[in-house]
């Protein structure tokens, strides 16, 4: 590492903030782009499982709320890709790399949705897991990214409310509806526990090293369990992990070891819905190419 890079590292590790025009080590820029791009990809892929349910929403209120949620996610990917673009990688390149499988997106968006129960569970718990990571990113050393996280976190809070409302309403409904929620939770619990990533110690995580992330994976997972397991249990729902319990002495949750092989397998492009969804994106991009060409034709 050069002296200048060392100085930069000490600067960010002591809380220093970096702007777009500032000098930054190549390694920092590379990691930043990789991290932020994956986030953008995830928001963009996240809309696909959810948008089908907009059409099937069983009340006008739910229809509006779900449309607004998916709209927010498209908006988030716009904010995020803009940040990546200002770092030097154009949006079109990001989309190409996503579709070709060169870049990744979060595990949860590789799985199918089966019922309206999924709609509630995803909006409540998947968004909750995401918001924990996103709140930690408010302290990202790269300021333009930290700044958009404020808007993203604010909008995500509506999603969690919506999700919780959907779940609560069903839990107060028929046995069949309660069963839909439980069944969805059973399917989503594994991916949720894998969501924050394998328990690599903070000190060994390059993203933490440069203060791109300010929270370790395990810490995020503990925060998620702390916040949401009590909420799950108080509704009479069961979590499909017989080992799940809180150790009152250490103040930490014990749980069955998540399937890290499954996580790796999924994020490298082998999830149950990965190829189908990437194909949808590819086709959609092809079909709308002519529109972008026209929009580009006479820039102001």
């Amino acid at each position: 590492m050069t002296a200048r890079e060392q100085e930069f590292l000490e600067y960010v590790q002591s809380g220093g903030q970096v702007e777009t025009a500032d000098w930054m080590p190549d390694e920092y820029r590379r990691l930043l782009i990789k991290f932020i791009e994956m986030h953008g990809n995830s928001e963009l892929m996240g809309v696909l499982p959810e948008r089908e349910w907009i059409l099937r929403a069983p009340t006008l209120q739910r229809k509006l709320a779900l449309t607004a949620k998916v709209q927010d996610e498209a908006g988030h990917s716009q904010l995020i890709y803009r940040v990546v673009e200002d770092l030097g990688k154009p949006r079109e390149q990001c989309l190409e790399d996503l579709i070709s499988g060169k870049s990744k997106f979060h595990n949860v968006f590789h799985y199918p949705t089966k019922t309206w129960g999924d709609v509630g569970i995803i909006a409540w718990l998947v968004d909750a897991a995401a918001i924990i990571s996103q709140k930690a990113l408010l302290k990202c050393s790269y300021a333009p990214y930290a700044r958009i996280m404020k808007k993203i976190c604010w909008e995500e809070s509506f999603h969690i409310l919506h999700g919780r409302d959907v779940v609560l309403t069903m839990m107060l409904g028929t046995d069949e509806q309660r069963e839909l929620v439980q069944e969805a939770l059973n399917r989503w619990w594994g991916p949720l526990m894998q969501f924050h990533g394998n328990p690599i110690p903070k000190e060994e995580d390059p993203m933490f090293h440069w203060r791109i992330k300010s929270q370790g994976n395990d810490e995020a997972r503990q925060q998620f369990l702390d916040g949401y397991v009590p909420q799950i249990w108080e509704l009479g729902l069961t979590v499909p992990d017989p080992e799940l319990r809180k150790d009152e002495e250490t103040d930490r949750w014990h749980f069955g070891e998540p399937d890290w092989d499954e996580l790796k397998h999924v994020v490298t492009g082998h999830g149950p819905k990965t190829q189908e969804r990437l194909e949808l994106r590819r086709l959609n991009r092809e079909e709308t190419e002519w529109v972008r060409k026209i929009v580009l034709a006479e820039a102001a």
């Binding site: 025009a21 673009e85 006479e298």
Partner: protein
């Protein structure tokens, strides 16, 4: 600003500034790509106002925003700073003179 004015492919980048409540300053909120001002205004309205969260927006083409981040202060201009005024000693003397100390 430092970043490109044109997004890859020719769309123009617009910066959006928003005023959250009446009386407050406009603060930078984000940027977006649009082919022209009409589109940029429509998009800004949706991105930063669809929840009625903004009192007003300014939409400006990025090329019209000029960043300055260097300022010269070679010769000490302490008259511009609070620490350039040390009144303590003079005040003590003035009180003694007036017999009010």
């Amino acid at each position: 600003m430092g970043a490109e004015d044109r997004a890859g492919g020719g769309r123009v980048i617009y910066e959006v500034f928003r005023q959250e409540r009446k009386g407050q300053a406009f603060a930078h909120a984000g940027s977006l790509e649009a082919p022209n001002e009409a589109f940029a205004e429509e998009y800004a309205r949706e991105f930063y106002g669809r929840r009625q969260e903004s009192e007003a927006l300014w939409v400006v083409s990025r090329s019209a925003v000029h960043e300055i981040d260097d300022f010269a202060d070679e010769l000490e201009r302490n008259y511009h700073r609070v620490d350039g005024y040390s009144l303590k000693a003079k005040l003590k003397e003035a009180r003694e003179r007036a017999g009010t100390s």
